[in-house]
Amino acid sequence: MSEDTLEFLVGEEKSLRELLLDSDVLPLLEGALRAGAGGARVVNEEGEELWSESDGGGRGELLARLPLYLEGEPVARLELFGSPEQRDRLVPLASLLVAALDTLLRNNLKRVLTTEIHTCVVNSSHEELLRINADLARSEARYRELAENLELRVKERSAELKRAQARMLQQEKMAAIGQLAAGVAHEINNPLGFITSNLHTLQKYTARCCAMLQFYRERLRPDLPLQTLFEEAELKWRELKLPQVLADVGDLMAESLAGAERVSRIVADLKGFSHVDEAGEVRVDLNQELERTLGVLSHLLAGRAEVVKELQPLPPVTCQGQLPGQIFLNLIQNALTHAGGAPRITLSSCFDGERIRIGIADNGPGVPAALRGQIFDPFFTTLPVGSGTGMGLAVVWEAVLRLKGTIAVADAPGGGADFIITIPAKKE
């Protein structure tokens, strides 16, 4: 049912027959007979008989005819018959009957109206409910769509986040490499500095030696007395400070050679550490990788930190060459950052036949148990906001994962953090 096909109507016209039942009327008429009437009937306005009762012996005379009203409209008459002798008794009886019928009629009408309005309201409430239900179904569909979209959007967002994280990891690697490069540059600059300065000095010394040689070339002639040459040469020799020059040259040369060797060692370390020359997977010795890392970090460690090595022979591991260096570099840098004034870093390695276990422990404050689940998360950092990207340990985590290994942090004996990396490996 919709608004424009509303069929239920309150207060539709009802006929007497619809409002009064035989069981309402007939007992009343029978009562009249028992009270002495010869007959009683209800006739509508058209003269049609609606209800009638009469005793066997004829109805007798019409003694009373009274109108019945329905909503103010005269719709029928009650007729009472009997012997004229009974008139005085029967006429009031007729009034009584009409009053009774009137009451019945009114009560029934009221009941019908009440039922109608109930039905009507229930119907429209039902429609209302159907409509509300339809609305709800619609909005539910909308919400479902929204929820699905949301899921999609969340997926997009997490993909976005992953990409951001990947970018950050990359940046962190670059940062570590950048730091390393700065450190290495410094490391190379030092020997280069004194090599250069030595070369300058050697240049001057060479010039003096050349001046001495030039002197001999000009003065050494057959006509000049040897004694004179000897005395002048001695004078020139001292003038050019050649005794000091000769004493110094050896040291300068040795020092410069040592510096050049140091530079070439650093470059070799760096090359080894970065595995720049290698494509794809290579077999690496993790102890050697640790040493190389220490090598490239020597500028940070030398004279500042105590490094304790407890390394046992390890079987080779096949992996991308840069990964171990990435792990060790970040962990050692992390140890140096957190270990305070007198850092002591303990590097340990061992192999139990199935797994290589590498420990990098420091003497810093350690990692509280509550934070141990989070420190490998991207962006997690215990440093003040702005001073770290919080990606260092995430880089480590990712690299360890690519080595099919695990990493955990424990308390180092005597305090501090002990990062333990476990990597599956086979005996040689």
Binding site: E71, L113, I117
Partner: protein
């Protein structure tokens, strides 16, 4: 929407007393019932009330016959004013031939009047009736209240709309018959031409209104 049967020579008109809860709709019908002669007037049916708030509705039927023999029944209904009985209001309002809006003159009820009138407009539209053409009388009831909104104010607000306004104090029987008579007259105007009440049935406006509203002679 008049019910009319040429064959049965009868017509049923439906008038609705609309308005906010407790504005005096039932009191209007009670007074009409008491004021008018028994001739042609049915009994007032007050359907299940709880307290003095109409839960279902009241019905006061009238009956008259035109000189032509056309039987005319006029059923006057009230609607429950409470917001929650909107379904009942809509049901009762269906096919109404005229509406008397019983407003409460108490200034405190101004908002209820407004809300109820708004509801009337909306429900009329819902049951397909046009408030512009539907016979409508507005009764400002409870004029006896000392704080009642002034008649001047009411007239200033309503006269420009052309809607008939009647001042009443239903509790004291004042303005009740007038409201009913005004509404009956407007309904007659609306249906006269269409059903040829004057021409074919010999029923003038005056006769129609008078038959419906003939007052009891004081005993």
């Amino acid at each position: 929407m008049i019910e009319y049967s040429e064959k049965e020579r009868r017509m049923v008109l439906k008038l609705v007393y609309y308005g906010p809860a407790l504005s005096g709709k039932t009191t209007n019908l009670l007074q009409l019932h008491d004021l008018l002669t028994r001739q042609g007037r049915g009994e007032l049916m007050v359907l299940d009330t709880s307290g003095d708030r109409t839960i279902y509705f009241d019905l006061l039927p009238f009956f008259l016959t035109a000189p032509s023999g056309l039987k005319i029944k006029v059923k006057v209904y009230t609607v429950p004013g409470q917001v929650c009985h909107d379904a009942t209001r809509k049901a009762v309002l269906q096919r109404a031939d005229g509406v008397a809006f019983i407003a409460d003159s108490s200034p405190a009820e101004a908002q209820s009047n407004f809300t109820s009138f708004d509801n009337l407009e909306r429900n009329l539209a819902l049951v397909g009736l046009d408030i512009e053409t539907l016979p409508l009388v507005i009764q400002f009831n409870k004029r006896d209240l000392p704080q009642a909104v002034s008649e001047r104010e009411i007239r200033a607000a309503w006269d420009p709309t052309g809607v008939a306004v009647v001042m009443a104090s239903a509790l004291h029987g004042e303005g009740v018959a007038e409201t009913f008579a005004r509404l009956a007259g407007l309904v007659y105007d609306r249906i006269d031409a269409r059903y040829a009440l004057t021409g074919e049935h010999g029923l003038t406006r005056d006769q129609f209104v008078r038959q419906l509203t003939s007052l009891k002679e004081e005993p």
